[in-house]
């Protein structure tokens, strides 16, 4: 939860085990023009951060840059996450393979835990298959295992996306408005499931959110984008 006056995010303010931190230094993100400039943040393992701001201001671009999908315009992103399975990314549209079954979708996440030399056509090793079943059980989607994702409801699809990320055992989860426009009950259960996952695997969560109350419910820290600057909510309160 966000504590009043907290400002633990700045590079200068941290003292914990820096080697496991995600450090954004002098970072500018955007496509041709910088959308957000001069970001200096340090995120420690297990922290939950929500990014707030109006549409089109660069929240998704920042998330995609941290995910390694686009290059930063300037500055550096340093972390010691493994190349495979280190980052779990849930895009706005969830990024599920619509024509594959729930089990196959979750297996994609499990595959990232195999060596990159493990042949793509080979089935998953049996211990990972068991993990896929456990992930489905923990998110209450076991009975949908063999259904194609395209026929599931929005809430069920979100559970599949979370299970796919859970099984990866990532060090950081980047979630882009993944709660969408779900109804209150669904939001509550998905938030609970996500929090459980994040706590279980001790991952860092950085999420883009549109709804402030959801952000406050899920995050330890809030970053707000104003103009082309990223401002820590704690700084604003001071």
């Amino acid at each position: 939860m966000v504590g009043e006056g907290e400002s633990s995010g700045s590079v200068e303010a941290t003292q914990a085990d820096d080697s496991q931190a995600l450090v954004l230094q002098d970072l500018s993100v955007g496509y041709n023009q910088p959308l957000i400039s001069n970001i200096n943040k340090k995120i420690m393992p297990g922290e939950s951060i929500a990014i707030l701001g109006p549409s089109g201001i660069g929240k998704t671009t920042l998330l995609r840059t941290i995910a390694g999908l686009i290059r930063p315009l300037s500055g550096t992103i340093s972390h010691d996450y493994p190349d495979r399975s280190g980052i779990g990314y849930i895009p706005q549209r969830l990024g599920l393979v619509r024509h594959s079954t729930v089990r196959s979708n979750i297996s994609i996440g499990a595959r990232s835990r195999c060596s990159k030399w493990y042949p793509a056509l080979f089935p998953l090793p049996s211990e990972l298959k068991n993990d896929v079943d456990s992930a489905m059980e923990s998110l209450n989607i076991m009975d949908l295992a063999d259904e194609p994702v395209r026929i599931l409801s929005g809430g069920q699809q979100r559970r599949v996306a979370i299970a796919r990320t859970l099984i990866q055992k990532p060090r950081i989860i980047l979630a882009d408005e993944f709660l969408g426009e779900l109804d209150k009950d669904n939001v509550k259960s998905i938030i609970e499931a996500t929090r459980k996952v994040v706590d279980d695997i001790g991952a860092t969560l950085i999420m883009v959110e549109h709804h402030e109350e959801r952000a406050i419910e899920m995050a330890d820290r809030i970053w707000r984008i104003k103009g082309n600057q990223l401002i820590e909510e704690g700084d604003l309160n001071q």
């Binding site: 999908l69 779990g88 549209r93 024509h99 994609i108 056509l121 599931l152 069920q156």
Partner: protein, 304 residues
């Protein structure tokens, strides 16, 4: 503009005036009625029935010894083998040519290879292979395989480029390799298009196998070639063309049936196999009637 170009290309418009009359004569005197003896075994002077290759016909149904059946069977086998082998080469090549999967320095050479393979029509490939290997089905199969790789590869990399970026980005962020993204994300995500193109290519190769027969590549085309050369038997050639048409329609129906499992409409419960020919809504109505008012469960999402 188009009219001016056409006028520029056609030197003598008077040839168009006599065309309907010539066509009518050709149709009534040479083509019609089709000679359906192509659906029967050959009867030799001693009264025995034989297959086109001279073997004695031991089948209970005479059709199985006819030129139409044996020729069509060879053409279908040729098309099946070349479509399947072509597909196995086309998918990896297409994945290298797809801009959303591979960087341009790899994608461009892959596209050039695919363009090279399809820029020669399969009939020219068949001629080249017939010169090298002699007449028979093998040059036809090789020709259709190469053309399939070029043609199918192009259709497939465009289908792959058309998939949603979100699943690919998730897979990239988690560090999956090119082959893992291809097998577990791109192929399932574009399965409807890939399957549709594969089945279209099979149908195309069946039709084209007919043409390749004209250059000695075997199959039903070889018999058609025999009938459109002296001594002319256009009515028999016409009957064989009708057989090809019927087979193409059947392949189209099979294609609809197979694809119905991977489209959104695949989620609609269909009580009979032939209801794949109906639009989803009509099939769903039929399902309601068929199951006597039993509650539909067309979508788990909707039932929530």
């Amino acid at each position: 503009m188009a009219w001016l170009s056409l006028d520029d290309l056609v030197e003598d418009w008077s040839q168009v005036e006599s065309a309907p009359e010539k066509l009518e004569v050709f149709f009534t005197e040479d083509l019609w009625p089709p000679d359906w003896s192509v659906l029967e075994a050959e009867e030799w002077a001693d009264g025995s029935l034989h297959k086109p290759n001279g073997d004695i016909c031991n089948e209970d149904v005479e059709l199985f010894c006819s030129k139409a059946w044996t020729g069509m069977l060879i053409t279908i086998k040729m098309a099946f083998v070349s479509t399947l082998i072509g597909f196995m080469f086309a998918v990896p090549l297409a994945s290298l040519a797809a801009g959303n999967l591979t960087p341009l320095p790899i994608a461009i050479p892959a596209r050039i290879i695919l363009a090279g393979l399809r820029s020669l029509p399969s009939i020219i490939w068949a001629l080249l292979f017939a010169i090298a290997l002699g007449f028979g089905p093998l040059p036809g199969i090789l020709a259709m395989t190469l053309y399939t790789i070029g043609y199918l590869g192009k259709l497939q990399y465009e289908a792959m480029e058309g998939i949603s970026n979100a699943p690919l980005e998730s897979a990239m962020a988690m560090g999956l390799t090119h082959s893992e993204r291809l097998v577990h994300v791109v192929i399932p995500e574009s399965s409807n298009h890939l399957l549709s193109q594969l089945l279209f290519m099979f149908e195309y190769n069946v039709r084209h196998g007919t043409v390749l027969g004209l250059v000695g590549a075997g199959g039903i085309g070889m018999y058609i070639d025999n009938y459109i050369n002296p001594p002319f038997a256009y009515d028999r050639a016409f009957a064989l063309l009708i057989v090809v048409f019927v087979v193409v329609v059947i392949i189209d129906l099979i294609s609809m049936f197979i694809r119905s499992f991977v489209t959104e409409e695949g989620d609609v419960k269909r009580p009979k196999w032939w209801t794949v020919l109906l639009p989803a809504g009509t099939a769903a109505d039929y399902y309601h009637k068929f199951s006597k008012g039993k509650k539909s469960d067309t979508s788990i999402g909707e039932s929530e």
